[in-house]
Symmetry: C2
């Protein structure tokens, strides 16, 4: 058996941790958004891949929500003293990953190979698959102009109103051989879309040509977990983006966004009253606890999602 997870950063990483604990070693394949990747001082930074790697590797800083725990900042202090920019916080330990990755890429390794090397070094059994080896850049048209994701999220602290999102380079990207193999695996049981930001974390993945069709054509249930709980986003700028688009901050907006892709939709108990209201063509809905407050909560959600997906597969609900 195997499961493919579509993942952004923190929400995806926590879902991945739960699924990795629930599944046999090697059964989880994580398709990670690379639309936020960028170059900083000549170093290739991959925020979502790094968050998933550090979380599954057991070294993430859960309190801060990004980067490594037991981190130190001597490099950043010194960089600032030399007149360098410090808006993007590079920790001393974190930096090793970026320096080694950048060097491996310059030596000719593919991003997929680099991600696999790092995962192995952190003792991660799951496969970490960048959504593409080609560079794709998530760009936000906002009321303060066109911004890269980092500009919007870190520099502007998600303040500007988002008018539209585009994925530069996506048209030139293609699913990697590893990714196609994961989706074509006869042992594939289901595809899970993590409770990540649909517009900024999952849409870039779906924008890779052929990938959306490959997901639908895999012949297994596709199940999404709502990142909206009780009228708010669990983390990040999703609520502001929904409001900017004139959409309700509700799981209904998420279900509508993924219309045609899902065979099952998972919402939190806080939103149980909404379960019947997603429309006549809405997929089956599972109501369960979705707040991944720790490894145990992640594992419970993973178990519920896996059982839900298997029920859907048994009912052959994925007949698209």
């Amino acid at each position: 058996m195997s499961v493919v997870l579509l993942s952004g950063g923190v929400g995806g990483a926590r879902m991945a941790r739960g699924l990795a604990a629930a599944l046999p070693a090697g059964a989880l394949k994580i398709l990670v958004n690379t639309g936020d990747d960028f170059d900083h001082y000549g170093l290739r930074i991959c925020p979502d891949l790094d968050t998933v790697t550090y979380t599954l590797g057991g070294v993430s800083d859960e309190a801060r929500g990004w980067g490594r725990r037991d981190e130190s900042w001597a490099f950043l202090d010194s960089l600032g003293a030399l007149g360098g920019e410090t808006w993007f916080q590079l920790g001393d330990r974190d930096l090793a990953l970026h320096v080694l990755r950048s060097w491996m890429l310059r030596q000719g390794s593919r991003p997929t190979e680099v991600a696999a090397h790092m995962a192995a070094r952190f003792g991660i059994g799951a496969a970490l698959l960048p959504m593409a080896d080609e560079p794709v850049a998530t760009m936000l048209e906002t009321d303060q102009g066109l911004l890269s994701f980092q500009d919007y999220f870190v520099r502007h602290r998600s303040g500007p109103r988002v008018l539209s999102v585009r994925f530069d380079g996506a048209a030139q990207a293609a699913p990697t051989a590893e990714l196609r193999a994961a989706l074509a695996d006869p042992a594939l049981e289901m595809i899970v879309i993590a409770p990540s930001n649909p517009f900024l974390s999952i849409d870039p993945i779906l924008a890779v040509p052929g990938l959306r069709d490959a997901l639908s054509g895999a012949g297994v249930p596709v199940v999404a977990v709502s990142p909206i709980v009780g009228g708010a986003a669990v983390k990040g700028p999703l609520a502001a983006i929904l409001e900017g688009y004139g959409l309700a901050v509700s799981p209904a907006s998420i279900a509508a966004h993924y219309r045609g892709l899902l065979d099952g939709f998972v919402i939190d108990e806080a939103d149980a009253a909404l379960a019947g209201g997603f429309g006549a063509d809405a997929p089956p809905v599972l109501v369960t606890g979705t707040m991944m407050t720790g490894p145990e909560a992640s594992r419970r959600l993973a178990d519920a999602v896996l059982a839900f997906g298997r029920d859907l597969a048994g009912g052959a609900a994925h007949g698209r």
Copy 2:
């Protein structure tokens, strides 16, 4: 008035500190060996420039003999854990210099401009001038094959016998405009060759086409301080290299190596008995304390060398 110092690493840095203290602000121009520069994980490392920068910037680790004091090693620990090589010890604070420099070079800055930026950031009044903007690589033919300087010095701990030294790229290098201006400055009083390794630190500088002639043609005394004291090298592999060449570990070998270039030669009191034995065509010799055990000792040596050079200038001894 101004003084040009030819410098390698530690010996040159200590001489520079003494001269900087003895001279008015801005009067010292340091021509630094870049033959040891190399790329490591995509970062441009400039060992001699960095040693001079850290020493004059007051942040060098005097006990260890290289790098910054109050250094930490979280990056290197993490790099090793990720399977990276750790033979070249990159400290967290040191790394900021390399990352920023490498990025500035990729953005199109010349090495001379980068060195000036870093010097200014460390509050250094002296001018730090790389011997050339073009890359030059000191390569050692040894009994264990051809080695780069770092391979020889760090990896092999100066163990192999050196048969010859060459400077790859030197033929394509040229003195920078800043360097030519320093040597053409009407205020130039003298040129000092630091007690650095003649074969590995000073010869690369002299190998830049036109530079040796520019030194001789500057019309001021050229004074070298012997890096050999009491039959031993103060630091580094110089004694082993002299022995490998079949030369005596004596200031006489240094004087012979610089034959035709010097107007004055400075040796330590420990070698006072040798002062008259450098041959009929030998330049005037100053015997003084040359062991730069601290800033005060560096300052005393600088004062003595400056007085010696001024005496030589007064006597018009530099009539080549």
